[in-house]
Amino acid sequence: MLVSALNIVINGLLLGGLYALVAMGLNLQYGVARVLNIAHGEFIMLGAFITWAMYTKFGINPLLSIVIVGPIVFIIGFIIQRTLFTSLRTSAPSQPAFEGSSMLASFGLLFIIQNVALIIWGGDMRAYSYYNFGINLGGAVFAANRLIALIFAVVIGIAFYIFLVRTRIGKAIRAAAEDPTTAGIMGVNINLVLALCFGLGAVMAGLAGVFLSMCFPIYPVMGLEYLIITLIVVVLGGLGSIPGSFIGGFILGLIGSAVSSWQPSLALAAYYFIFMLLLIIRPKGILGK
């Protein structure tokens, strides 16, 4: 009983770390650039597939893939924000109109990226084995690669938070999130900051994809499933609150692992149920303003 409880907690934390990382990325994009990026899950998929391809074709260590995946998804995200979303933002009559149109455009991106991936890699499930041996912690057994994934996810998450709080660019980002117009008047290059945020958000999804590919099988349409979980985490933590997403990720990971241990096929339904309850009781989330 105790061991199974420990198992649930450890599995939940391992899963939660990845959720937290992805959710922070999405929240950065929504909180600052005001784009609810439905294509966010596709960056996870891209990160996972690039890592898989590098490992199986050239034998590159998945952890080294971080330095390959990071820049690639950053550039893609940066360009998308500078072209598509900037032109939508400047032509939109109002903030809600922009949020609606950019969300729909990101649905379009989802279909584009997903189907390009399907054409390149085919629809099969892929997996590789990396640090795939068991670690025993007080009776609970889990794979070593998942612990690596958790550590990296937490380190990246905290490093990003420090970047946001301590550096000048971080300050500019926070200013842009508060009030883009005023921040612009104060000398913040708003288009650059928004594109930077979008790129960084994509990087977090891409890196989460790197870690995911070490632990789970991957497939080109995986993005949507993770996106839905991510949306729930972001709403749970509070739209626009980066620490909220971090905490929300772990909470949802724990809930998911508890439900999975009881009835695996209901995990996703449980997420929705929580999500619906949350939207009814407290739509602004745990740390939302």
């Binding site: 032109s87 609606g100 584009i112 839905i228 709403v235 096929s265 996703l268 939207l279």
Partner: protein, 317 residues
């Protein structure tokens, strides 16, 4: 030019044109091939989904992605009731079940604004799909269901009937004071509430009304597919295509979503048969391009050119 402009303002002529088109459509099985009937059925299905989606979105500005959920509920209602009930009552039952579900969902969620509402409705499709899958695997032990097969011409007749009822409903809604109240919600919800508009009731009812038509369309289309499972019935594409078609055609006029849906559904049929593996890719590209360059839809674009042409004409004369 004045004559043409006058023609556009003659409601009686519009009724006549609509009536002629309707008679042409209704007699289609007499002169059209079986393929044409099936193609037009598919197109009308999309028109129904698009118009009923627009009916709620255009005045209120609430972007729902639950179309696939209500459509799927209609499909499953037909799969379950199709053997016990005659066709028409089963179709109406499909609509009514969707209507009731939408009432409940709407009552819970329509307090949510903007993106929250959209995410929620999107999640709804997946939630119902997963619960059904769970139910089928663990309770009934089956996967999917067979539906009573219907004659193509019967299906065509029923779907045309749904379309006519929908258009009349939408027309009356736009003309009535309820339509005006709905639009006031879209403009400024607080102000509308202060003016004595029962904001919540009106939103929930219109949402449910649009769901009724989606459900009815799902129920009749189920008889064409003969076999359904949760993946077929609750395909998220049925949530997105109506949005895309409405954006593509525009939403300002009664007829603009119809035009978007007809053109787009036809393109979709062609793409699906010729380039099935590229269909979704092209779909994504069109979605992005339409949002970027067609803010008022195709109809909006044509009207803009039209008005520009008129203005230049006036300058010249």
């Amino acid at each position: 030019m004045d004559i043409i402009r006058g023609v556009f303002k003659m409601p009686r002529l519009w009724w006549l044109i609509s009536l002629i088109l309707l008679v042409l459509l209704a007699t289609l099985p007499l002169y059209g091939s079986a393929y044409t009937v099936i193609l037009i059925t598919a197109i009308i299905m999309y028109v129904i989904l698009t118009v009923s989606w627009t009916m709620f979105f255009a005045p209120t500005g609430y972007l729902s992605l639950a179309t696939a959920a209500f459509f799927g509920i209609g499909i499953y209602t037909m799969a379950i009731l199709g053997e016990q009930l005659p066709l028409l009552p089963a179709v109406i039952a499909g609509g009514l079940v969707s209507f009731v579900v939408a009432l409940i969902v709407g009552a819970i969620t329509l307090r949510l604004r903007g993106v929250y509402f959209t995410i929620f409705t999107f999640g709804l499709v997946e939630l119902i799909k997963h619960l059904l899958l769970f139910w089928e695997i663990n309770v009934t032990g089956t996967r999917g269901r067979f539906v009573v097969l219907e004659n193509n011409n019967t299906i065509f007749g029923v779907i045309l009937g749904i379309f006519v009822v929908l258009m009349l409903t939408y027309y009356l809604l736009r003309r009535s004071k309820y339509g005006l109240a709905l639009r006031s919600i879209g403009e400024n919800e607080e102000a509308a509430a202060h003016l004595g508009v029962n904001v919540n009731l009106l939103k929930v009812f219109t949402f449910a009304l649009s769901a009724f038509f989606m459900g009815a369309a799902g129920a009749i289309m189920a008889t064409r597919w003969t076999y359904v499972d949760p993946y077929v019935a609750f395909n998220v594409l049925h949530s997105f295509l109506p949005v895309l078609m409405a954006i593509f055609g525009g939403m300002s006029q009664l007829y603009s979503p119809i035009i978007g849906a007809v053109i787009f559904a036809y393109i979709e049929e062609q793409l699906l048969t010729r380039f099935p593996e590229y269909f979704m890719l092209i779909f994504g590209v069109i979605l992005v391009v339409a949002i970027l360059y067609l803010p008022n839809g195709l109809v909006g674009l044509v009207r803009k050119w039209w008005q520009k042409g008129l203005r230049e004409e006036n300058v010249n004369s």
